[in-house]
Symmetry: C2
Subunit: 189 residues, 2 copies
Amino acid sequence: MLEKLREHIKKIVPLTDEEFAFVRAHFTIEKYKKREFLIQHGERVKYSYFVVSGLIMLVYDDDSGRQHIVSFAMEDWWESDFLAYFNQTKATMSLQCLEDTAVLCLSLEDYEKLCAGLPKMTYFFLKKANGGHIGSQQRILSFLTSNAKERYEQLLTRYPSLFQRVPKTLLAAYLGVSRETLSRLWRPS
Amino acid sequence: MLEKLREHIKKIVPLTDEEFAFVRAHFTIEKYKKREFLIQHGERVKYSYFVVSGLIMLVYDDDSGRQHIVSFAMEDWWESDFLAYFNQTKATMSLQCLEDTAVLCLSLEDYEKLCAGLPKMTYFFLKKANGGHIGSQQRILSFLTSNAKERYEQLLTRYPSLFQRVPKTLLAAYLGVSRETLSRLWRPS
């Protein structure tokens, strides 16, 4: 599990064995079953998660009980309710498993210790944060410029495997369309 | 102008005089008139911009010539077509002044030199990138969960000064609604 983290970090910054020993000491391993929650809405957010295997989703439940999916995260992705994580406030979203999932957990305290102890890791997190910011900007753009059909096709092109792994109801909640609209767009090949 | 940058950085990391001398050497000052472009769609993106004074907007023009506003940026904000900036590709968006604007410009080469030469600056950029990522996630959430009226009210609460400084047509292009819909929501006090 920890080797996957090392491979992942190495794509941005190479680490010596000694440096990686320092890094790994800040993570804990957790395994969750399908449907279990890593973060529950209203609770304190303890960790940012690196997904080693499996699939999780970041969900916002509105006042009327409708689910909205902010993002899916699979292998090699980082996910959390980042607003609550960085501000140490209570979660406004939930993070739930769509498959059995293994994650590496990093507390904010340990995140800060990694940054302070190893500038290479600050740079690594910077690259990931910039990537996250860019990805979110692209999604905002897709909401502004694309209709449901186009957003569906963009998702299909970018992450084809999601269509095998995620129920249609949840894809609809990610795209911001009704289940019925999605069914009209859905043409299994 | 450069003192504003120092004050801005100091909120996250304190810098010695010597460190700030190193930082400032990486920036250039530019002044633009209202309606001028900092970034033109289709051209190379040279800089990330720190807004010292004024107001700029990041705009996407779709194939039918309709304008969509991804973000507004005013004093103390950083803005660019970040996808094109970090990947050194051509701009898919434009960055245009809504007021006479003064900016500090940072090339990607100098951004990387600042990170390599002063780990404190990597940490500073990390905090800004995390903030940008969180802000974008909140905006995605507002598209998923809120109707036009709610998005309008969120914007009014969060950035009241925008309503004095930005024409209504552009606020509509930011909120993803028609000018007519915005006019129905608009109740000047």
